[in-house]
């Protein structure tokens, strides 16, 4: 029955958002699809149901395999109907369902019938459907029809066959290649698009035959190709021929250039553009060749169509990179595009202008861009910033205006990426243009005063630490940096501390001041900040006790990481990080003073780390070719305690080799052993073959020595076996009184215990932080489950420990501990097996009444990619934190020691802290708000001055600078923002330094009344003089021109909440 497409639901009629598919549901539609099976088909209704199915698929709904099959079979029934519209929908549906090959067979005959139908639309569509779903075997059956279709007089049918041919060429090239005669015939078709499709297919068939392509292009460029699309295609092929023939032609004339040039006069815009673009992209294009192309592109620039303008400006932008001069003619048109509605076009125009502009036009351009910047999106701004950066590098003399521009836009609103692009640009300019350094650094300083991005703040602080100390006046950056310690979050504070330390290390004259500042950081609320401050105070030798050389400190502060974290493309490999902690000079200095001297050499032998083993082994030429050491076992004793000769062995596992390191100790004072070797019998270890041994030349009493034996084993295989060992040597008697050995020795041997190489030797104990995650990330296919009976055991704990030792893996999450009396337990183990395979094991134990233990073992070796992918991610994350956090993370121990020391030192110091705050105070010097000042000094002498800042409630007004106790700024600048700015207009403040005195001159308009002041109309001039002292300035004498509230820093202004604490 004919129905409206969807039953109109009254509830939804009134809704503004009406959709015929409102409330559509997959299940219901699949039910509806049953109408396909009706004996009396209703084509209209069937069409509607197919439309609904297609709608669902289009909205991203998926059908299960079964649903898809059911729908497919139902749809095939619809071939019975002769309704053309329905048939078209059936074709669409079959294409969407992309049936499997056994299902395809069902529709093949129907489609083949349609392919030979008299109706053109059937033929065309059936060809496209069949070619879409068919496979190679079927293709040979229908090949004949396809060849016919290609030369069909109906262009729709011919196009359908040709396009299908293009698709089929990917999967069945050998079949499609046989059609080339037909395709060539189709090339002559009068229908434009048939020509286009035929050309595309013909070229693809011949694409590997350079000569054929060249011939094709030659013949076609002479003839007439009707379709603009085909013409575009021909231009592309021509370019290919030109590229490939480059080098063959010695003469100046470029082949086919005339053809390209003639295309510039084609009537279709797409052809003109394609040709123009092709010319600009020619290898080594000359300006003469470029000119006609640039001319047509220039015409496009003033087109009314945005697409045309965009295409032209984008191409010109590319040309400007290589041939800026060729594009200068378009500059006037380009400038008018700056105000283009389409911001992409405007941005491209700007960046092109920046590339082509000459030095004299920079200023004018900057003015235009400034207006433009406010109304484009961040992503376009970034493009502009990058263009300005390269412009600045091109015209270093113009850095002033460009740097100004960058600093201006830095102050504007903007997202992180944008700000980062600006900061990066400034940093690059500072590096490359020495003149720009000072102003650039100041711009950056100003930016971090009000920067919401922690990452950028830390980056800039780091950069300041490197560049700041090298400037002519490093001290002026200090206050910006120290302000961070007051105002920012812990991460930024910590970076600021590091930066301060760098200044201290590089600039000797600032050192004492830096120490004062760093000492203040010892009271920070964040431990990282305190730790850093303590560390740097010690490194820089603040307490005078250490006289560490400057190089050490600098190396520590400025030195790079042991392992580059941003190493190119290679995934981060944790194994490349040295496992040995660097011996810090600090620790070395401590040792001799605290410990009784002459304790002797550190205990030798087994305590050495894996790194030491690796170093030792790679220093032996015989073993140096074995590759990376995978694992070294703990020493295994091969002799009883208290025997003549004590021997233990360390098994070193390499990928293809095993090296036994026998640590021998001679415990008999009367003997000297020479030429010590170990004779290893590997008859019980079939897979091992001895390849080398390194005897020990001499083994005197009580000084251990090593002899080595190396075996080869199959690569990557955890070969196991048992080895029996005999120690062979030449014994020489030693006269204990003289220590002289006799000349003649006796050959002797000593039987050692057997040595076994077990599976656990091939397993590295490597823990995972989150076992569950790691387990789930493992490829489930690689999981193996086995069950074992472990026989009777005392308790579960014993069984668990035995298995862990057997596997040699790292227990995770404390699962090696078995609660007492428990009857079942799950233990999680992790490790890396030889061949760098990560292995996770989940052990499930159960114990029954008879103490029989059963174990279920499930293990999952990870796919290598998962592993390295994770690590890469880890590496990536670390990069961000690297700049500032890394240096002192290197040695946590040292830091800890420093903290205690710092605290002790602090208690000895007599410090006076004065803190006061006041609120709402009108008048010069302070805007309303809360002001905090912190004074600190020695011996009750309030001598130090600090960064002074006021922030009003909205956080808008802020002043900063060095100031004395009275709120007067010294050695700094005063800036007004927000409300203060309005009132304080016209005030001037100048500081000059003369003979150790700082003179402050201030002119402003207002009135002074005792200790308060108001802005007003009268002109006021003040002059103060203070003595410069150390870090800040000591207030000594003031010479006011008129009476003013100047005295010693007593903190008596506006009756502040005044506290004095002294310890």
């Amino acid at each position: 029955m004919a129905q409206p497409l969807v039953k109109k639901d009254d509830d939804h009629d009134d809704e503004a958002e009406y959709s015929p598919f409102l409330g559509i549901e997959k299940g219901a539609v699949l039910q509806e699809a049953r109408v396909f099976n009706d004996p009396q088909l209703d084509p209209r209704r069937c069409s509607q149901v197919i439309t609904k199915l297609l709608y669902l698929l289009n909205q991203g709904e998926t059908f299960t395999k079964i649903e898809a099959t059911e729908v497919f079979f139902a749809v095939t029934k619809l071939f019975q109907s002769r309704d053309l519209g329905l048939r078209r929908m059936v074709y669409l549906m079959i294409k969407e369902l992309s049936p499997s090959s056994d299902e395809v067979i069902i529709v093949t005959s129907s489609l083949m019938k349609d392919m030979n139908s008299k109706t053109d639309m059937y033929r065309a569509n059936a060809i496209r459907v069949l070619c879409r779903i068919t496979d190679g075997t079927l293709l040979t059956q229908i090949e004949r029809y396809l060849k016919q279709a290609i030369v069909d007089k109906n262009p729709v049918v011919a196009s359908a066959a040709l396009v299908s041919g293009i698709h089929l060429l990917q999967s069945n090239p050998e079949i499609v290649k046989r059609w080339s005669n037909e395709v060539q015939e189709a090339m002559q078709s009068r229908a434009a698009l048939v020509q286009f499709h035929a050309l595309a297919l013909l070229h693809q068939i011949r694409q590997n035959d350079r000569l054929a392509v060249s011939k094709l292009v030659t013949s076609l460029t002479r003839g007439t190709v009707r379709s603009p699309l085909a013409q575009c295609l021909l231009i592309r092929y021509t370019c290919q021929v030109i590229r490939e023939s480059a080098g063959n032609t010695q003469t100046g004339e470029r082949p086919f250039y005339d053809y390209l040039e003639s295309c510039l006069r084609h009537k279709a815009e797409m052809v003109i553009f394609e040709a123009a673009r092709a010319i600009t992209e020619l290898n080594g294009v000359t300006s003469r060749e470029l000119t006609p192309a640039i001319t047509v592109l220039q015409l496009f620039l003033s087109s009314s169509k945005p697409v045309l303008r965009f295409a032209a400006v984008r191409t010109l932008n590319k040309v400007a990179m290589m041939h800026p001069m060729a594009v200068t003619n378009c500059n006037i048109d380009m400038e008018s595009l700056i105000s283009d509605q389409n911001r992409s076009i405007a941005t491209l125009a700007i960046t092109t202008l920046l590339k082509t502009g000459n030095e004299s036009s920079v200023d004018r351009l900057m003015k235009q861009i400034t207006n433009f910047m406010s109304d484009i999106a961040d992503e376009f701004k970034i493009v502009v910033v990058e263009a300005i950066r390269s412009l600045c590098l091109k015209f270093p003399l113009k850095y002033r205006s460009l740097m100004n521009f960058l600093s201006n836009i830095l102050r504007e609103e903007g997202g992180f990426e944008y700000k980062k692009a600006i900061v990066d640009s400034i940093v690059i300019l500072i590096r490359d243009i020495p003149d720009a350094k000072e102003s650039g650094l100041l711009h950056l300083c100003e930016f971090i005063e009000d920067c919401e991005f922690t990452y950028l703040s830390t980056q800039i602080l780091h950069f300041l630490g490197i560049e700041g100390p090298k400037t002519s006046d490093p001290s002026k950056y200090i206050r910006y940096i120290y302000n961070r310690v007051h105002l920012e979050n812990a991460t930024v504070r910590a970076s600021a501390v590091s930066t301060l330390a760098k200044f201290g290390a590089m600039v000797d004259s600032l050192k004492p001041r830096i120490f004062v500042l760093l000492r203040r950081c010892l009271f920070d609320s964040d431990d990282e900040v305190r730790d850093r401050a303590t560390l740097y105070l010690n490194t820089l030798g603040a307490d005078g006790a250490m006289d560490e050389t400057n190089e050490d400190a600098s190396e520590f502060l400025f030195g790079s990481l042991d392992v580059p974290l941003e190493s190119s493309d290679e995934p981060f490999d944790i194994s490349s990080v040295p496992r040995e902690v660097k011996v810090q000079p600090l620790a070395e200095k401590k040792a001799p003073s605290k410990k009784p001297a002459g304790l002797g050499a550190p205990p030798s032998g087994p305590t050495a780390t894996v790194d030491a083993y690796e170093k030792l082994l790679s220093s032996i030429p015989e073993f140096s070719s074995f590759g990376n050491l995978f694992k070294s076992s703990a020493p295994v004793e091969l002799t009883e305690a208290e025997t003549e000769y004590a021997v233990n062995v360390v098994k070193h596992i390499f990928d293809q080799h095993v090296v036994f390191q026998y640590n021998c100790t001679n415990t008999i004072p009367e003997q000297l052993l020479e030429n010590v070797t170990v004779l290893v019998d590997s008859s019980e270890a079939e897979e091992f073959a001895e390849v080398a041994s390194k005897p020990l030349q001499s083994l005197p009493y009580d000084s251990p020595g090593q002899t080595f034996v190396a075996f080869e084993k199959p690569q990557g295989v955890p070969a196991v076996g048992k080895f029996s060992n005999i120690l062979k040597f030449i014994v020489k008697e030693v006269d204990t009184s003289t220590g002289e050995a006799e000349d003649d020795g006796v050959e002797d041997e000593y039987r050692l215990e057997d040595l076994e190489v077990v599976a656990a030797d091939y397993m590295q104990k490597v823990g995972v932080s989150n076992f569950r995650n790691a387990w789930e990330n493992m490829n489930p296919d690689s999981e193996r489950v086995d069950e074992y009976g472990l026989g009777p055991r005392e308790n579960l704990s014993e069984a668990v420990n035995a298995v862990i030792n057997l596997l040699g893996m790292q227990p995770c999450e404390g699962t090696e501990v078995v609660p007492s009396n428990s009857r079942s337990h799950t233990c999680l183990l992790s490790g890396v097996f030889i061949g760098n395979v990560r292995v996770l094991v989940r052990l499930s134990f159960g114990i029954d009444g008879e103490k029989e233990v059963a174990m279920k073992l499930a293990r999952a070796p990870a796919a290598q990619q998962v592993n390295s992918g994770k690590l890469r991610e880890f590496g990536g994350k670390t990069v961000a934190a690297r700049e500032e956090l890394r240096p002192d993370k290197r040695d946590k121990k040292r830091k800890r020691a420093g903290v205690r020391e710092g605290a002790r030192e602090k208690s000895r110091e007599t410090a006076l802290e004065v803190k006061f705050a006041w609120k709402k105070r009108k008048g010069r010097g302070r805007s309303d708000g809360i002001c905090e000042e912190l004074f600190m000094g020695m011996n009750r002498e309030v001598a130090c001055n600090l960064a002074f800042l006021t922030i009003n409630e909205k956080g808008k007004a802020r002043m900063e600078g060095w100031c004395d106790g009275d709120g007067l700024l010294l050695l700094g600048e005063r800036r007004w923002r927000g409300e203060e700015e309005e009132e304080g207009k016209g005030s001037t403040l100048a500081f000059t330094e003369k003979d150790g005195w700082i003179e402050e001159r201030m002119r402003w308009k207002g009135k002074m009344d005792g200790s308060s002041w108001m802005y007003g109309d009268e002109e006021v001039e003040e002059q103060h003089r203070v003595e410069k002292d150390g870090l800040g300035c000591r207030f000594d004498e003031v010479v006011p021109v008129i009476e003013g509230p100047i005295g010693e820093g007593k903190g008596d202004l506006g009756s502040p909440d005044f506290r004095v604490s002294s310890n």
Binding site: R236, S304, A311
Partner: protein, 177 residues
């Protein structure tokens, strides 16, 4: 560059960025989630522009997007970054005009959804697997609109009920007009 001009996707979205009909011809967006993310991206990036008189163009993340809006429908054709912008614009124009012809000038979301079969057939006739089939709007619309009983089928093969259905259909259509 030596490859055939190709279209990566054709999108028809409504004024909130929801799908009306979309068609992807490239593997750049393997999952539906990726497709939806791309559509959202395309929609938000072009939303504020005025593309009602002339087709507009935008480029982001290696995608060239040409688009045109009418009523509450947003038409997009996207291609690779090296594609000839004007070819994409031609495809867009073909699609846009063909839809206009098929919907008899009432181009809005409601009309498009009610004639979704026509829109889907239209998409099918414009591009096949990324290769441009036809760009002439009248030809496209002509191919789609040839809704009739197969001319080759003799009348006798139509059953009485089919004939009745056809008659009823004609009647309802004329009544609804």
């Amino acid at each position: 560059m030596e490859k055939c001009p190709s279209v990566k996707s054709i999108l028809l979205l409504d004024s909130e960025g929801k799908r009306v009909a979309v068609k992807y011809y490239s593997d750049d967006w393997p999952t539906n989630a990726a497709k939806e993310a791309f559509e959202k991206d395309v929609f938000t990036k072009t939303q504020k522009t005025n593309a009602r008189t002339e087709a507009e163009i935008a480029m982001f993340e290696n995608n060239m997007v040409v688009y045109k809006f009418v009523q509450d429908l947003h038409f997009f054709v996207t291609g690779g970054e090296d594609e000839n912008e004007l070819i994409l614009a031609t495809v867009l124009q073909g699609f846009f005009d063909a839809v206009g012809l098929l919907l008899r000038g009432n181009v809005d979301k409601r009309e498009a959804l009610e004639n979704l079969d026509l829109i889907l057939l239209c998409l099918d006739e414009i591009v096949d697997g990324g290769i441009i089939l036809e760009t002439d709007a009248t030809v496209i619309a002509g191919k789609v609109a040839s809704h009739s009983i197969d001319a080759g089928a003799p009348l006798s093969e139509q059953t009485i009920s089919q004939a009745l259905a056809t008659a009823r259909e004609h009647l309802t259509r004329s009544l609804l007009k």
